[in-house]
Symmetry: C2
Subunit: 536 residues, 2 copies
């Protein structure tokens, strides 16, 4: 158990300073307070922030923490917004910030992989590839360009391209265990194994899965697979004007996802999700009343011109492959959507240039449509964007600043993300439960469904509020718990948990027993992220 005697902490801090340098051990109150602030109410106290510069530094820090039995909590870039940001699950932890482990170690253009450290961000990797005129694309999340690539994969986050399932597209983890061991997953433990960056299974039991959504070890390096740029790329956008269309659209797209015609994730956002990306809460038009009822939402939807459901996806390949995919999408979606648009680079540029003219010639507000489409168009080709983050400011009274930071700006944000089969009825049910529960608590149901694999979809539900409004933190918490409970009862557990919801993991004695045995081995002192995806 962590020792809270100040003298122990002081001795440990001296050891940390000796190990990684004074400047990399921070204890200033404002830093600690900032690091212990998330997008919802938290109580965990952070004792110090360590910033190791190398894997050896990490090992030294872990050894010291084990010696003094100091709890440690590890973040890569610390942008786990909506799930707890940098805040540890339990109080009195030392935060280890891996952002200085930001080396891009190796790359193979032909085989499409890059070996990186956890501090490497989406932006850094994107710029690096651009700088060397690489023909490889990254897959970016819709969170922030400054998100860690490995950090997101370890949380099993996802993006938009065919490489959207991040944990499925990496291998060869280098892991520092709190017990002092270092291990590499896959083939790397065999000397000079050429297959190490390309073959994930290794030989014998395969361990990669253990270190995702886990507190068993600290990943200090991994190889990420990258998609070769296709000859041709086209994005598709569709909208449905009736809520029920969701069912037939999901069912219509399922076979295309299953047979590989659409390789990208397909993203379907409801009207609330779209409006929160375009404007802030219309306080003026609603006379300050919340929530934005479905009726008012409809009026805005008509005015701002988007659908009840708004879908997007990417097509990749030769011109002929893309053309055939386009034909198949048109056939499958015929009669099920109000509008479908295909955009490639050229069309996108032209439309952007002449958007005002288009607006004059048609009733369709193309400038607004392009505004909506731009970040998604980019994400579908792996261009990171800050745009979706603005939705965290939905209920704020001031507009999002240039350097958005939802933690600092007291944006309320909690994500609940149930998984279901790619089946229209399941999607409808999740949408229904969400809308009903969230509106009842006077928040807005911001939903997006992502057809993430051939067979599964994940619904990301953003609960958004203004933390500066008294009582709202508590209201949101109650709403979140009811929502999660309803979804779970209906058979839709989440794919991922925030620090406030880790109790959900504790369900099955066989599963938990095995993990706890493993935890006793990798972390006998119980110092690494206690409570994270494993009951205390």
């Amino acid at each position: 158990m962590p020792v809270e005697q100040p003298i122990v902490l002081a001795t440990a801090l001296a050891a940390f300073r000796e190990a990684i340098g004074d400047a990399n051990v921070r204890v200033e109150p404002h830093s600690l307070e900032s690091a212990s602030t998330a997008t919802f109410a938290t109580t965990a106290r952070i004792l110090a922030i360590l910033k190791p510069s190398s894997r050896h530094d990490v090992q030294r820090c872990v050894a010291i923490a084990a010696r003094f039995v100091i709890r440690i909590y590890v973040v890569s870039s610390g942008r786990n917004w909506g799930y707890g940001s940098r805040v540890p699950v339990v109080s009195d932890s030392v935060l280890i910030d891996l952002s200085a482990l930001n080396q891009i170690i190796a790359i193979d253009e032909d085989l499409g992989w890059v070996t990186i450290e956890p501090g490497v961000t989406q932006r850094q990797l994107f710029e690096y590839l651009k700088g060397r005129r690489s023909r490889l694309w990254i897959d970016a999340t819709g969170s922030s360009p400054d998100t860690s690539v490995i950090g997101n994969a370890m949380e099993r986050g996802f993006g938009h391209t065919p490489y959207g399932d991040h944990a499925a597209n990496l291998c060869g983890l280098e892991v520092v265990l709190p017990n002092g061991d270092l291990l590499e997953t896959g083939m790397a433990r065999f000397a000079d194994a050429h297959a190490a960056p390309v073959y994930k299974w290794g030989l014998g039991p395969s361990l990669d899965g253990l270190f995702t959504q886990s507190n068993l070890g600290i990943v200090t390096r991994a190889t990420v697979w990258l998609m070769p740029e296709p000859e041709h790329f086209q994005a598709f956008f569709f909208r449905c004007d009736t809520a029920d269309d969701l069912v037939s659209v999901v069912d219509a797209l399922r076979p295309l996802r299953l047979d590989g015609t659409v390789k990208s994730a397909i993203h379907i956002a409801n009207s609330y999700k779209v409006i929160a990306g375009l404007i802030q809460y219309p306080w003026h038009e609603t006379n300050g009343a919340t929530p934005l009822t479905p009726e008012i939402m409809s009026a805005f939807r008509a005015k701002l011109n988007f659908g009840e459901w708004n879908g997007s996806g990417g097509l990749y390949g030769t011109r002929a492959q893309v053309a055939e995919a386009r034909r198949l999408i048109r056939v499958r979606l015929k009669g099920k959507v109000a509008r479908i648009t295909f955009l490639d680079e050229r069309l996108f540029r032209i439309a952007s240039r002449y958007s005002a003219l288009f607006g004059l010639l048609s009733r369709w507000n193309i400038s607004r449509a392009l505004d909506l489409a731009r970040p998604v168009f980019g994400l579908l080709k792996g261009v990171p964007t800050e745009r979706p983050l603005a939705a965290a400011y939905w209920r704020k009274r001031n507009p999002p600043p240039v350097d958005m930071d939802p933690d600092r700006d007291r944006c309320g944000l909690m994500w609940c993300a149930p998984v279901a089969p790619t089946d229209g009825e399941h999607a409808r049910k999740i949408a229904e439960i969400s809308a009903e529960t969230i509106l009842k608590h006077r928040f807005e149901p911001l939903l997006s469904f992502t057809m993430i694999t051939e067979r599964a979809l994940i619904c990301v539900i953003s609960l958004t509020w203004d933390r500066d409004v008294a009582g709202e933190d508590q209201n949101a918490r109650v709403c979140f718990e009811e929502l999660q409970d309803q979804l779970l009862k209906a058979g839709y557990p989440p794919y991922r948990l925030g620090i406030q919801a880790m109790n959900l993991i504790d369900t099955d004695p066989g599963y938990i027993g095995l993990l706890q045995a493993l935890k006793s081995w990798t972390d006998p002192a119980g110092i690494l992220a206690p409570g994270r995806y494993l009951p205390l």
Copy 2:
């Protein structure tokens, strides 16, 4: 440690009999001897064979084994030919044969999955789908129709269609642990989780990988993902007449595999592999001399009309998708192969009917070519075949019987299967090492490269001999060890191990330490398959 006192065994056997019925506990010497016979020399003694009929039976057997500290070794269908068949790694084990756990539990035609028990064979699943006019395909290995689907996936075996990486295409394992626990991987531990058969990660650390190539638990159920039948299917076959062509062919096909134009595994066999599928060793033409030197091989190749390298793969999709893939393959392989042929169902039927006529009209022996193509054509659409098994009889003096059983028929067979990136130079190096080492020991290098994922290839090297020839078991063993050693030194560890090569697993203290800690938890008595993919 296992107790070998006869009295303990007798008491345990009585308990087994009471638990699962007299008829399901076999101790007749001929059964035990047959079960302890593989395709190479083994020494492990089997004490009894248990045939549980249900998961509960399995749990009862495991509990009894734990109580009496009796080692158990588990097989699904027992056809792990070339890797040890049914023979345990260590002696004095009780064999648990899961073949009676052969229920097909659930199926979903729309989402493409089936939940099955480990006794379900490729043939059974294939017939089941045919019987219900399903539009779902299985992915079959080139081993035997009577191979267990789950057993093969747990060994991380592979097949030929886009679902060729078997371990990657299943989820939701139900696992009996020797400690008495039962666990389910993925989402199934949450009540009524609809995503359980479609989403593999679950919530929290993901365990699936732990139970592949493993002795940590007994998988008694899993959900296997199945490919929906495409609108159109076409197989492609190509041959190269120069050994060096391997390099440029692999490099030319890599981008097509990476960008998804070719979704199936691509299979490239050398001339030795092909001839062993067509005829037995030409004892007459060689006057009994071994090995079949490259010079004699060349003469046979010219006579029987196949290439130094003989490739195949499948194209799936709409007619337009298949046509575009065909065009791209032609472009990429132009000038790199001596011949390329595309065959669909219709062409295949016509060619089969008029093969004699074709033969008269051209110098190309189409009947022989079709003979070669037929089983591969089937495998590419998930039709299991016994054909490749005949190659195990290559060095025998008698032809393969109708009911082939390489164990019984004393066929010598050992597989060595190194992994490498999909890169021509690596393929060439593996081919070179194999040919040199194997010919030196007077066997033939039967090789096939499979481009199994977007980035990795596996070379399956079959070492084949006649166990009835005195000294050959030992010669093969020496050859195998030298071969494996050479490949490992060159940086090509294998993807899978036979029971005779389990020592290879023991390389890294971090990896082994973690697994041993896990083993102590799941199997405190150390009864389950000791030595299997984990040092004793």
